[in-house]
């Protein structure tokens, strides 16, 4: 691990004043791992773990405001989350291990880096780790990598389960910027596609701190998180689906669907939901939604299987939720 300057922040305002070159550390479960491998080499670490951002509060609009430092385990076990946002509890519990969930923070989970083997291997070429160096994943061992939203420069997937549920729930990210301004960013606008700049993963500015995540009032309907992976526990998603579907008078009145394991960001596509709206919950409607999901999908050989797997996982989730 490269040496760094360690500072402990007393307030969020002090934390963002640490400078653009500093990295925030909370749970550290991803950052320290990457620092050991020298994939990440921050000159300064700002310890934000003891800031007063670990609470979960009822919002004025019937929603919930989650402090960025709430550990994943505490969030998953919160009775309000279980009762109103079950898809979020389910997604959190499907990720990592008990030990990691006890450390990992809500804000850090959103910002965790890809588990692409070539990103981790400093002897390999990776445009995300070293811009302009090339991508050894394309044409390499890419079984776990993305089939949607990729570019010729990067086919990495976003690894989070939690963030997939957050997209289905239309979460809003609250931040504090180095200049002292705060802003609200819809989770739908948080992540960037790789394009020519796979090293730029979010719209956050250098030194901008996530302070809270706000969940709007719960949507009508049943919620589910379905994750398909290589082993039954403690593995990243090959494909996952976060779904909230409301059926009224025999027709799908609303649907919010997000997907993990498929793209460089937790994936959401309005065309998938549009294919379901107003239709009876039948296999024909589910197949239309699945077709919309994979319409632009592109396999890279070893991960071609994800395309039919995504179709089937979506259809199975919709059948479960609607009783069709």
């Amino acid at each position: 691990m490269k040496s760094f300057i360690y500072e402990k922040a007393a307030t969020p305002e002090a934390a963002v004043r640490a400078g653009a070159a500093a990295r925030f550390i909370a749970g550290g479960t991803n950052l320290l791992d990457l620092m050991k491998l020298q994939v990440e080499t921050p000159a300064k670490l700002v310890d934000i773990s003891r800031l007063d951002l670990a609470g979960i509060d009822d919002g004025d609009d019937g929603g919930l405001t989650i402090g960025a430092l709430v550990p994943n385990s505490d969030l998953a076990a919160d009775p309000r989350v279980i009762g109103r946002y079950e898809v979020l509890s389910r997604a959190l519990l499907a990720g990592a291990s008990g030990q990691l969930r006890n450390m990992a923070s809500t804000g850090g989970n959103l910002l965790q880096r890809t588990r692409c083997y070539y990103f981790y291997d400093t002897a390999a070429r990776c445009n995300k780790r070293e811009p302009g160096s090339g991508c050894d994943a394309i044409g390499g061992e890419n079984r776990i990598l993305a089939v949607l939203g990729t570019s010729e420069h990067c086919i990495a997937t976003h690894p989070s389960d939690m963030a997939v549920a957050m997209r289905a729930l239309n979460a809003v990210i609250l931040t504090l910027k180095p200049d002292g301004d705060s802003r609200r960013i819809s989770i739908h606008d948080l992540y960037c596609l790789p394009g020519h700049t796979p090293h730029i993963e979010t719209v956050l500015e250098p030194g901008e701190l996530i302070t809270h995540i706000a969940l709007p009032k719960p949507q009508l309907g049943k919620q589910a998180y379905r994750k398909v992976r290589d082993r039954a526990s403690y593995a990243f998603a090959l494909v996952s689906v976060a779904a909230i579907v409301h059926v009224a008078d025999g027709k799908i009145a609303s649907a919010s669907l997000a997907f993990g394991g498929l793209g460089p960001m937790p994936w959401k596509d309005a065309a998938v939901e549009a294919a379901l709206m107003g239709r009876e919950p039948t296999d024909a409607a589910f197949a239309a939604a699945a077709d919309a999901l994979v319409a632009q999908a592109k396999g890279h050989g070893a991960n071609d299987f994800k395309i039919p797997l995504a179709r089937r996982t979506l259809i199975a989730t919709l059948r479960d939720l609607t009783g069709a």
Binding site: S3, G28, A77, I82, L100, N102, M103, V228, S233
Partner: protein, 183 residues
């Protein structure tokens, strides 16, 4: 820097890069927690920080100067074993023993989580999880055992948790696997 480990206060100068695991093993002679992968994948380094189980390889010591850290050495000693240590011995829950300190610390933290009513991935009702063997397996999945002592580890934890012995039938195992496979 100062640390409180197993109720004892330590004053020691270490590099800010030092993990809790390396602090314990390399600087304080507490070699119970083991270094397996050093990347949070195996669970051999599991300790309790303020009663919560964590991977000690993935957290910096400098961040925990005001916390209560408990390692396997603090759970029990020869002649005065923690209930889980005694159960691991009784049920032959290890072969090489390398993962055992982490398994025991993890199980202590896990049973506390169950006590608090925390659900898991396999809980049907998140608001009222029922504790059974499938819950033990899921909740302990962050601790790998390359000798494969899992059945006996589950036996030991089940005994300490005080739940009735219920060996999973072949049908139940098939059903659990099938739920992960999409037709």
């Amino acid at each position: 820097m100062h640390f409180t480990i197993n109720g004892r206060l330590y004053d020691v100068g270490v590099d800010v890069r030092t993990s809790i695991l390396d602090l314990c093993r390399e600087h304080l002679g507490l070699t119970g927690a083991k270094k397996g992968c050093d990347h949070g994948q195996c669970g051999a380094c599991t300790v309790l920080i303020n009663g919560r189980r964590v991977n000690s390889c993935l957290t910096l010591a400098v961040m925990h100067q005001d916390d209560q850290i408990t390692t396997i050495e603090g759970l029990g000693q020869v002649g005065n074993l923690h209930a889980l240590q005694a159960a691991f011995v009784r049920h032959d829950s290890y072969q090489c023993g390398y993962c055992t300190p982490g398994q025991v610390c993890s199980a202590v933290g896990m049973l506390d989580e169950v006590e608090k009513g925390w659900p898991s991935h396999v809980s049907k009702d998140l608001a009222a999880p029922r504790f059974d063997d499938s819950e033990i397996s899921e909740r302990m999945s962050g601790n790998l055992c390359r000798c494969g002592a899992y059945p006996n580890i589950v036996d030991a934890i089940r005994e300490v948790a005080g739940i009735e012995s219920k060996a999973r039938t072949a049908d139940e195992k098939d059903a659990a696997m099938a739920s992960e496979v999409v037709a």
